[in-house]
């Protein structure tokens, strides 16, 4: 097992190094072959490992690879923990990654930096595997930041584009805000549990369940609440939860394949994975769970709303991702860790599918991303159309599709939750179903139905701000008047992702949510066991049960409204936007997070820096103290200089004066 696991991790790294460092020697084809072989090996072995754990009952693998350092009684190691949770994540990560690698051959065919791109996504696969396979907090943090680094490099892949290099800096810094909390959480674990190893920490945690710490004044805080919330701040950054969500929409500046891989399927779910992995800790703090639940539900609903008014195809899907991440996080808050992970898995497939299909549309539109310029694409891109529709149905929770099972399970679980905030969360998540269907089908109808595509010529002059950014100036002039289906390297991954988007929910819900798949991996306290309150009689029964609940009808309503508004009466949307212009403005400004951050944090930090530098360093320390003392010395010297004029009569005069003074002193005394 040791060598298999090491190979899984190192094969993509080797591919990445070859493609990156020897980019000129291997050439374009060499770069995609080395990385695809590396990730392919990793994917095949991951399936093997998954098979061993899921069906052959392989024992949990928890071993050290090497000791990073031992200091002051604290062991810091690099090691792997593989159990069924890890095995599932490994399969999801490597499979989606492999699909994206293949897809990229088509998507990036005419781009510069082809080798660099493959090097980065293979490096990402390595980093993500290090993250999910870790058996300790140190390596978790290593993977956590490493995926952040690759995300930074890939969002800024188009290095010349101002919006891209703004977005990547923003993404890195916002993630660092999350990591700021995360590292403090790790420090707390190291201090109070005396270890960075997961299993040791989980063993020692129950003894600390009632421990308190004094953080401010005399208020005693529950230690576990402090630890869990600090760690969750990290998850909020990585999994883009309000208010640290601001980087994810901007991350769409990166090429579409990485939006699918990093900003939809894998990296952004790291926070969900982490909280689920830490379930033995989170179960000890109901306050932390409530916090998680409320943040998740808020993100799920309010980010979905913004998706309704976006006009950039990728941004719609990005807001959808934010909203779905909110669902997963809410599931964790309701202690339905399995449901959160289940949604993570189904979402990875259908959201990667949606992004890649959107990318295929973008290829067809010659890198125009504005959906107002699209329309009627189903005629030109049949495979893209059908796979996109499958992804949409899975996303809105059409009965029988993957998303249906996972989302319904989450809503049910939150419904059964009794912790603080669960009612709030339940209503938001339920309303969110309508919103999801509305924005998803709005996108679907606008892009694939109706007339169009409008302005379809290589150099069109009507641009949205964001669409313009993506349009490549030097794009080859296209003679063909109509868009056409993408090449097979693009469509094959779409089809391969469409299959699990349909069937994976039906197949996996039994064992994952209500079976024993996660036994021994996830910890759920009996009073939080929301999932076990759901009446489950097989996947088919779950569908029937779902038909008696409100969620399915809300989804249907959302889809119907979208159909009516965007295909029958397109002016309703503009009417509504005008009549409720304040709502539109609030949504269009994304609730003002971006402008506030830009003004308060970015502007404030620069202002503070200027004041400290000019007033503190230059005026006070250098001006007053350092140069001031130099000036005082100079002044003193200039004064005392008058005493030494070099004229004999001055000295003689001084002697006489002194003599007079002394004599008079003697006389008067």
């Amino acid at each position: 097992m040791d060598y298999i696991l090491l190979t899984i991790v190192l094969a993509p790294l080797a591919g990445s190094l070859i493609a990156g460092l020897f980019r000129n020697q291997v050439g374009r084809a060499g770069a995609h072959w080395t990385t695809i072989i590396g990730v392919g090996i990793s994917c095949a072995l991951s399936f093997y490992v998954f098979y061993q754990y899921a069906f052959n009952g392989a024992p949990v693998h928890n071993e050290t690879v090497y000791t990073w350092m031992v200091v002051d009684g604290l062991r810091m190691e690099i090691g792997f923990l593989v159990d069924r949770l890890t095995a599932m994540m490994m399969v999801v990560v490597t499979f989606v990654s492999l699909m994206v690698h293949i897809y990229t051959i088509g998507y990036m065919a005419h781009e510069e930096g082809y080798q660099r791109f493959f090097s980065y996504i293979a490096l990402f696969t390595f980093s993500m595997l290090m993250l999910v396979m870790s058996n300790n907090f140190l390596q978790l943090f290593f993977g956590w930041e490493a995926v952040g680094l690759v995300s930074y490099l890939l969002i800024g892949f188009y290095v010349k584009r101002e919006t891209a290099i703004f977005a990547n800096l923003k993404a890195f810094l916002v993630n660092r805000v999350g990591d700021f909390g995360f590292i403090l959480g790790i420090a707390a674990v190291a201090m109070y549990m005396g270890t960075l190893d997961y299993y040791e920490a989980f063993e020692r945690a129950p003894a600390l369940a009632n421990a308190t710490v004094v953080v401010w004044g005399d208020d005693a805080w529950s230690l576990m609440t402090l630890i869990c919330i600090l760690l969750f701040v990290g998850a909020m950054g990585k999994s883009a939860q309000v208010p640290l969500h601001v980087w994810l929409p901007d991350s769409m500046e990166g090429p579409t394949p990485i939006s699918a891989l990093i900003h939809a399927a894998t990296m952004v779910t790291a926070g969900i994975f982490m909280v689920a992995r830490m379930s033995p800790l989170y179960e000890l703090s109901e306050t932390a769970l409530s916090f998680v639940l409320i943040i998740g539900a808020t993100t799920a609903f309010f980010m979905g709303l913004i998706g309704i008014i976006q006009n950039d195809i990728k941004r719609v899907v990005a807001y959808s991702t934010l909203s779905q991440l909110g669902y997963m996080i809410a599931a964790l808050g309701a202690s339905a860790y399995a449901a959160g992970l289940f949604h993570l898995m189904t979402h990875a497939f259908f959201k990667a599918l949606l992004f890649l299909a959107a990318g295929s549309v973008i290829i067809g539109m010659h890198h125009d991303q504005d959906i107002r310029n699209m329309g009627g694409m189903r005629k030109y891109m049949p495979i893209t159309h059908w796979t996109f529709l499958i992804g949409t149905l899975a996303l809105i929770g059409f009965p029988g599709f993957a998303g249906f099972f996972s989302k319904d399970a989450i809503i049910e679980a939150v419904h059964f939750s009794r912790i603080f905030g669960s009612d709030y969360a339940y209503w938001l998540l339920l309303s969110g179903v309508f919103v999801t269907a509305l924005y998803s089908f709005r996108l679907y109808f606008i892009v694939f139905h109706g007339k169009g595509p409008r302005h379809f010529e290589p150099h069109h002059d009507v641009h949205d701000e964001n669409g313009d950014a993506e349009a490549q100036e030097h794009h080859p002039v296209h003679d063909e008047p109509k868009p056409h289906e993408s090449p097979w390297v693009v469509t094959v991954p779409l089809v391969l992702l469409a299959i699990p988007s349909v069937v994976i929910g039906y197949l996996a819900i039994g064992p994952m949510l209500f079976g024993e798949y996660f036994d021994g991996t996830l910890t759920v306290a009996p009073i939080h066991a929301t999932l076990s309150e759901i009446d489950f009689h097989g996947a088919a029964g779950f569908i029937l049960h779902g038909l008696s609940g409100p969620a399915v009808y809300l989804a249907a309503a959302g889809a119907l409204v979208a159909w009516f508004v965007y295909t029958r009466k397109p002016n309703i949307a503009t009417d509504l936007a005008r009549r409720f212009s304040w709502i539109y403005r609030v949504l269009d400004s994304k609730y003002g997070f971006d402008s506030f951050n830009q003004w308060f944090f970015a502007g404030g930090a620069r202002q503070l820096g200027k004041v400290l530098w000019q007033a503190g360093d230059r005026a006070f320390i250098d001006g007053a103290v350092v140069n001031g003392s130099a000036r005082s010395v100079a002044w003193l010297a200039s004064v005392t200089r008058y005493l030494q004029t070099g004229y004999l009569y001055h000295y003689a005069f001084a002697i006489i004066l002194g003599l007079l003074g002394l004599l008079s002193w003697f006389v008067i005394r």
Partner: protein, 504 residues
């Protein structure tokens, strides 16, 4: 342990004598002096390797000891030796010097032999500072160190070099005078100039506090700590690239080393009494200086300020020891803090050297350090951009690079002293990334902004060699810090035990 031959003396005197020979060779054949200097530097590095290879990491005793009378009348000895604290710093010195010689190769056209000679002498003197176990010898090396640096900035420096050199000289000299007074006082008290004898010297609290403050003035200027840091940005801006590299990579470490070798063991009670002061100054360095770095327009100034912020972690790690001792619910963490500070010093040696060399690469081409003069460098210098982004990430403390290790250890340790120390220290994750990556964004990324940038040539083999060596060091220390931790472990454990015992 002692070897058959005086390794430390050779490491000190080989570059000094070699430097004088290079100087005598004159500037008629600059390549001869360059090669000669390079060979001397490489040979010195090779000579210093047995210090690591033959090092016994199981003991805190001084090793490779040489002790002969020097001025018997005053009990002054030529006493050298290293432990786990000084040995890594010596290797850092000999390693960085080789790179600095290579980095100055054809860049320095004006009096190249004197330039090379200054760096070689500097190297020997700095090794002397780290290995001296006699206070008089230490002081001689300590002051001697100023001269080559004074010359380097004063001759090969920028337009305001005279202001910078005088500021540098006065600042550091002012500090060291008080240190001399303290040393002489302890000499009269103990009848010996041995630093190790000072460690066991009984001093009452008033004496300790006065001595502590005298040392503080000397070391805080060197580190430099807020508020006596303002000489550093000026010195860096005016210094030639090589001077900046030595200054940031090694000279600053002498301040940190001084705290470990003098302040903490000689005056443990005063250190305890005044630890709030040092911790406060360190946290201000981390937070305040971070914001100041954010608004710098000059790349070298930005990196200089970043150095001050990073050195704040060093002093923070050293002085939280007493607060960790005081917390009964915590049974360890003191060693973690001191080790973290040491790792941070070594790591900063690599990273700051690399960052200054990166700026040097740009400066050699465009003769500007202003951020606004650049933009889109990646388009014309792709390999340079790889290094620049890599070292920037290391500077921002990315795990997997050495920059993470020390910061992580110090944050972990300071959490044990006080939650809010850790909060303030951890802000570097955000602020450090902000100033470093914002600079990278403006310099490296974007469209090519000017004709000057458009004409830039990518790094040549010589520059690639230097930067690759540093990149390997940064990665190695980041991925596997255990070897460094192991050599320091016994000495730092012994030190922490020593300062845990009151002298009162």
């Amino acid at each position: 342990m002692s070897a058959d031959w005086p390794i430390l003396s050779v490491t000190i005197w080989l570059p000094i004598i070699g430097g004088l020979l290079v100087l005598m060779s004159g500037d008629k054949a600059p390549n001869v002096s360059r090669w000669a200097a390079l060979w001397v530097a490489i040979l010195t590095f090779v000579v210093s390797i047995p210090l690591y290879a033959g090092f016994d990491s199981s003991t805190a005793q001084m090793q490779f000891v040489e002790n002969v009378p020097w001025i018997p009348m005053f009990e002054v000895n030529y006493h050298l030796g290293v432990d786990g604290i000084s040995m890594p710093l010596i290797l850092l010195t000999t390693f960085i010097t080789v790179l600095v010689i290579i980095a100055g190769w054809e860049v320095i056209q004006y009096k190249p032999s004197q330039y090379m000679e200054a760096f070689l002498i500097m190297e020997g003197v700095m090794v002397g500072v780290f290995s001296a176990l006699d206070a008089m010898l230490f002081y001689v090396f300590w002051e001697a160190m100023l001269i080559p640096m004074f010359v380097i900035i004063g001759i090969w420096g920028g337009p305001r070099r005279v202001y910078a050199t005088i500021k540098f000289f006065l600042y550091t000299f002012l500090g060291s005078v008080f240190m001399l007074v303290a040393l002489i006082y302890m000499y009269f008290k103990s009848g010996s100039m041995g630093i190790l004898a000072f460690h066991d010297l009984q001093l009452d609290l008033t004496e300790q506090i006065l001595i502590f403050i005298a040392f503080l003035l000397a070391f805080a200027v060197k580190v430099p700590m807020w508020p006596v840091h303002t000489w550093l940005p000026d010195a860096h801006v005016e210094a030639p690239t090589g001077g900046s590299v030595i200054l940031a990579a090694i000279m600053l470490k002498i301040g940190g080393y001084g705290f470990l070798r003098f302040s903490l063991p000689i005056t443990p009670d005063a250190s305890h009494t005044l630890d709030w002061l040092i911790i406060g100054m360190s946290l201000i360095a981390v937070v305040y200086i971070g914001f100041v770095a954010l608004v710098q327009q000059d790349m070298k100034k930005l990196i200089a300020y970043s150095s001050i912020a990073h050195m704040g972690f060093v002093t923070l790690g050293f002085f939280i020891v007493f607060m960790i001792f005081a917390r009964t619910e915590v049974d360890s963490g003191a060693i973690l803090g001191v080790q973290g500070g040491m790792v941070q010093m070594i790591s900063h040696g690599f990273i700051s050297a690399a960052m200054f060399l990166c700026v040097g690469v740009l400066y050699d081409r465009l003769h500007s350090r202003e951020i606004s003069d650049y933009g889109g460098v990646v388009n014309v210098m792709p390999w340079f951009a790889v290094f620049m982004v890599f070292f920037a990430m290391a500077n921002a403390g990315l795990p997997g690079t050495s920059g993470f290790v020390g910061e992580f250890m110090v944050i972990l340790a300071s959490f044990r002293a006080d939650f809010w120390f850790a909060v303030l220290a951890a802000t570097t994750l955000i602020v450090g990334a902000a100033y470093t990556l914002w600079m990278v964004k403006r310099v490296v990324f974007g469209e090519v902004t000017s004709e000057g940038v458009a004409a830039l040539q990518d790094i040549n083999a010589r520059e690639a060699l230097v930067l690759t060596s540093l990149a390997i060091a940064v990665l190695a220390l980041g991925l596997w810090p255990a070897p460094l931790i192991e050599v320091m472990d016994a000495s730092i454990g012994n030190l922490v035990q020593h300062i845990g015992v009151s002298k009162l």
